[in-house]
Subunit: 382 residues, 2 copies
């Protein structure tokens, strides 16, 4: 029964993946300046020519990973597109600054001029993912070294000295452990270390540090995952301290689970499922309308984010990966039930039957509220 | 008929104003550290102790303006609260920087330590409003000079050299004329010049420049008000160029109308009403559910702002002021109809009958989506 059910899911997911990849192959490639358009309307029309660096990076990564690991995507068209995106990034992503490698831009004009630089690490993170995966499919050793150099800069910003990020040091702005940061670095450790013993050794301590930083987000006597905590693992005051982002917690859950399996750590495996999957699912699921909330306040107050109750595609993707991975390890029927519940909501709400690919942003009630396929924070797949 | 109707409106507005002022007098004053709490829940409970500088500034201004111009608010309690807020701002708002007066913080801890600095002019604008209005009620000449000094710094950032705002100069980031900037400066010119001939002379050319900058936002052969245009008054490419913010346009409308009346400029008076009121009202009103949209794309595409379809309290306030002012000048019945339509929506949706004050954020359908009375972008009244 479970086997049949899973085969059905697999078939549907496979066909959605094909439709999504087709959509981006068809509509997003900039044949004039290279790289990819990222703002793409419901029907595939480019509605803004700005190129978001982190989404360029993710598309390069996605193409390369599909090319390398899924036979039906092992096609020249995909490899060539990935290479074009990689070249565009190497040529234009970096905004130099005196005495350092500089920062990646957040967004670029169509022809590659920097428009905006964020004072965070995320554009650089997706740049590293792109370069490393591209190095794997092209065998470009220099590119792999380049990815590691950027990675080491990221680690320096996070663990040693954040001043290169460009944020002024303010007395009331205490250092914060944001879930996104150790989660993203752990993901990069996985990326860089895969199949490489020397790199795995180099980043072993970093991986372990990321896990500890993520675990600090388990708060309120183990009953809540909070998005931001103090650097010594305490709850922060106010809204910032009470904020929950269930999709992020679920994402951290499967990163932790993957790490736990690799390291044979049964206790961490249990925490990943019980804390980082069960809690956000239980508290984050909308009992009235279905779907996972974007933001919640752990005390049940109203979040200050205007979009708090919207249903976004990506937390649902993270939940699907998390519960499927957890189920495949334990064969615990409850986990398959969770997966099924998320699956039913996801596949009945997000796919666009008419034009392919998925809508990204629904109202709390589940109707499409923003109908584009790509925007500043939504790119190819998730 | 119109007179009776207007008297009814006036009575209701008067009672809502009393309830709102009571709410802030009762719940927002920090008796320990001075200044005002700005994050206040539905029932008056402080849910976050951060103090947003621009909202501190607006509350000081509001108290002083009420104290100075409305007899029933001419009370010691209100004056003392305004002074406490003013002292808090003077003591803590500024983050110094070498070789200049620095920048105002965007937010402070409860005891006044800077948490965040924005790379825009708006915290400083509300600081100027607060200081100038406080100087008027206290007769503090030094404070008035201080307000002007900050004003001159603002004008320098906007018209001469923006580098002090701290934004890195990037080749793809071309200068933009954002409606908010000349609108805000025009408002400050009004504030500083009221009843002072010498100050009015000093800022005369600036006022005229602001009006010209605002008029550049009339685009598409006079059929649309766009939120951002190029510095030479052309439509910008992409989403940024197509963005409409009907509430902002209506606000600019009554600023322009006020200016036009003062300067006896009939042509500008016509433009203020026909372009900056009629157009945003016609395009910004939600025909299905009532209320004014937050953001729209002039080509009818989907905006990328997740909250685009929400109904916020402040665009409705701006619309009320705009149409009432326009009606009082021309006695044109259509304008009273407009006012009535906005009034009916506003007063049936935003006031909180139970705890006083107004909700700020409704769904497109008009139900309360965020229930707090004060937050990072909502303070006392509007």
């Amino acid at each position: 029964m479970a086997t049949e059910k899973l085969a059905g899911f697999r078939e549907r997911i496979r066909s959605e993946l094909d439709r999504a990849v087709d959509f981006w192959l068809k509509h997003s490639h900039d044949k004039v300046y290279g790289g990819f358009f990222t703002c793409i309307g419901r029907d595939g029309k480019v509605y803004d020519e700005l190129k978001y660096v982190w989404l360029q990076g993710r598309q390069v990564w996605m193409y390369c990973r599909l090319y390398r690991t899924v036979e039906r995507f092992h096609k020249d068209e995909i490899l060539e597109a990935a290479k074009s995106g990689g070249e565009f990034l190497r040529r234009f992503a970096w905004v130099p600054s005196a005495g350092s490698m500089g920062k990646c831009a957040f967004s670029l004009t169509r022809d590659g001029q920097a428009v905006k630089v964020q004072r965070t690490i995320f554009s650089e993170c997706f740049y590293v993912m792109a370069m490393d995966e591209l190095a794997r499919v092209t065998g470009d050793r220099e590119m792999q070294v380049h990815a590691e150099t950027v990675m080491d800069q990221l680690v320096h910003w996070v663990r040693v000295d954040p001043s290169g990020l460009g944020r002024p040091q303010l007395p009331g702005d205490l250092p914060v452990n944001s879930l996104a940061v150790p989660m993203m670095l752990l993901c990069l450790v996985e990326q860089l270390a895969e199949g490489r013993v020397d790199v795995a050794d180099k980043y072993r301590e970093l991986g372990s540090w990321c896990v500890q930083q993520i675990l600090q987000h388990v708060q309120r006597d183990g009953t809540a995952i909070l998005e931001s905590v103090s650097n010594d693992g305490k709850e922060l005051p106010g809204c910032q301290g009470r904020l929950q982002n269930p999709g992020h917690a679920l994402e951290a859950g499967w990163f932790l689970l993957q790490y736990a399996v690799q390291h044979g750590d049964k206790e961490l495996q249990r925490i990943a499922v019980d804390k980082f999957m069960e809690i956000p699912f239980r508290t984050g699921w909308d009992q009235d309308h279905g779907g996972i909330f974007y933001f919640l306040d752990v005390d049940g107050l109203c979040p200050t984010q205007l979009e708090w109750s919207m249903k976004l595609w990506w937390p649902h993707c993270e939940a699907l990966v998390a519960f499927l991975m957890a189920y495949s390890l334990s064969r615990e029927p409850t986990l398959l039930d969770r997966f099924t519940q998320v699956y039913d909501y996801t596949f009945s709400h997000f796919p666009d039957k008419e034009h392919g690919e998925w809508f990204g942003y629904l109202t709390r009630q589940g109707s499409v509220e923003l109908d584009f396929k790509g925007g500043p924070f939504k790119g190819e797949l998730h």
